[in-house]
Symmetry: C2
Subunit: 358 residues, 2 copies
């Protein structure tokens, strides 16, 4: 965030998002749920997966690509597994349903694994994997990315997304581990943010069709995102795509709709979510003490010259959450301008900055 950024309170951002979704035809209760999850993403520093996405969501709601009034349902249901049909509503709704159902199943059977079909972009995975942690459960999430930016290893056809994986594990006195990662070196949202800010990408994030590094984020469509570990990241993205997409009857591979470029076609986005009850394996308090000790050992490691102290995944995001909960959510002037335009189009009261109207 540069120094020109204004700050916005979580309550005001949530108010604005709720108003915007209601203006787009989303029922008030659903609008509030999605707005609450989006604000939580911004509070945690996931700047590319919170209010930043309103423009995309509103374009799709407006143009009919996303269903403003979905009816969610469970279409197959076994003791420990199910598929939730999101009825092409805002993706957060189906993911929240799937998360709650997985936790209920884990409570009863040790684990619950719930797939989503007819979902949509649902914000950062950490929103969902963080929920079972509050109940002494482990969370596990995978998704088919909302556009294909990656070819199969060695190839040039864009058939894979950044297909993220997320895992959260509860701790005791320590903050939980919350890992939320794209299987590409860079996430698509990060590149969108750099493009909006007019900043360059580091080498290693993308290559062009000539195989050479691509660093101008506005030329994103001319190249490919690189998977982590080369063929390993390709393999992970494939496996996650089959589990989150194909297994649930959701899109994967050439059926994936570019969520940004196409605002009228249902995406049939697929995700999977698993909750694992720690109590099915161990005494939760004992488990959490052991996790604390592991994290403390990691953090006590001496560091390589010039490196920051060792961090546990999720630690930085928690620090951002604490700071933003007090000081508000900073937004880049370019984002503020986009949101002001959206407010005008929808006829809702624009966002007011903490230190006065933006």
């Amino acid at each position: 965030m540069n120094s020109e950024s204004s700050r916005y309170s979580a309550a005001e951002v949530e108010r604005f998002l709720t108003d915007a979704f209601v203006a787009l035809g989303v029922p008030a209760r659903d609008a509030g749920v999605v707005a609450g999850l989006m604000v939580k993403a911004d509070l945690h520093g996931h700047d590319t997966h919170g209010i930043f996405r309103l423009k995309q969501y509103s374009a799709r709601l407006r143009d009919g690509g996303t269903n403003a009034r979905p009816t969610l349902s469970v279409i197959v249901d076994r003791d420990a597994t199910a598929i939730v049909d999101g009825d092409n509503g805002l993706g957060h709704l189906a993911m929240l349903y799937a998360t709650e159902l997985a936790m209920e199943k884990a409570e009863r059977h040790g684990i619950g694994w719930v797939g989503v079909r007819n979902g949509n972009h649902a914000g950062p995975a950490s929103l969902y994997v963080g929920m079972p942690v509050e109940r002494d459960m482990i969370g596990l999430y995978g998704a088919v990315g909302s556009a294909n930016h990656v070819p199969p290893w060695g190839g040039t056809d864009l058939l894979l997304g950044t297909n993220p994986i997320a895992i959260a594990v509860p701790a005791g006195d320590e903050p939980p581990l919350i890992l939320d990662m794209a299987t590409t070196v860079a996430a698509a949202g990060k590149i969108k943010t750099l493009a909006q800010r007019g900043e360059a990408m580091p080498e290693g994030w993308m290559v062009g069709r000539d195989g050479k590094p691509l660093t101008d984020p506005s030329r994103q469509k001319e190249g490919f995102l690189l998977p982590i570990g080369g063929p390993k990241g390709y393999g992970l993205a494939m496996a996650i795509g089959l589990l989150a997409g194909t297994l649930n009857g959701a899109a994967f591979g050439k059926d994936v709709v570019d969520f940004t470029a196409d605002t009228v076609s249902p995406t049939n986005t697929g995700q999977f979510f698993a909750a694992i009850s720690v109590a099915a394996f161990a005494d939760p308090d004992q488990f959490k003490r052991t996790v604390d000790a592991v994290f403390q050992d990691m953090r006590a490691s001496p560091v390589l010259p010039g490196q920051d102290p060792v961090r546990i995944p999720g630690e930085r995001s928690l620090a951002v959450f604490r700071e933003r909960s007090v000081s508000g959510i900073p937004m880049h002037p370019n984002l503020v301008a986009v949101l002001r335009k959206t407010a005008n189009e929808l006829g809702v009261t624009p966002l007011a900055a903490i230190d006065g109207p933006a």
Copy 2:
């Protein structure tokens, strides 16, 4: 494999391994099970995870680090989850038990997730994830590596292993996807093989304590393995370690025993194995036809200049399996020499090459 390699039939390798384990006090039935799985690893081209490991396994059985006559048990058991206690026997025995139990649970409840404690090195993950595939199930595996070669990201204390993850998905006419990957750029076994052959490592596999590339595999102990995607691979290795180790009451972090250097201490190795029944989500035949189509689309992609055609993870290994099933398993002269020494020590008939005694 260089041209000096001799070839050995699968039956002869299995005979030799069974004899060796029996000579080390392993009951004949268990010896046969482990030998069969080890030969399967070699047939599939996992040269670092088959007979290559006999030297380590026999040292630990001889010195008491591994229990030759374990009694396996299930210590916690919910509908869809369990922990198997491997009683410090050869790791293949507990992993096979866990795999079978997970498949049984998946059959009844949609998914089965089974952890292992008091296990040991169990060969390649692909051995196990390939089993549910034969029953129209998906396999998922993670393990705490059998020695710590990796510091937490930015640090220098060796607290993490190569903690592998494996995922297998059934297909129809196409071969299944079988992904089996270390979360480091290179697997420890690959480095052991290069050291045995006297060959150098590529840059990017390891760095020294000065942060500079390390390419001499015999100097492995002076440096660190690098995780895939930097902090992402570190996060994955942590999450896998917590799920495969800590959750099961198995070792993770500073409690990990170096399986090679220490031949007397129980390792308390932990793994997890999940089986997911495709039938709990979809019609298996329809699912497998869709998977076939996805794989065919990937393989039809044009390639970057100088690249091989796109492959599906597991495809190369299957080709090796077919070739070696006919022509036998090639072994490097250095490995053959080690095995001859082991045969002498144990008083068992040495391996006979296909074209005469090696």
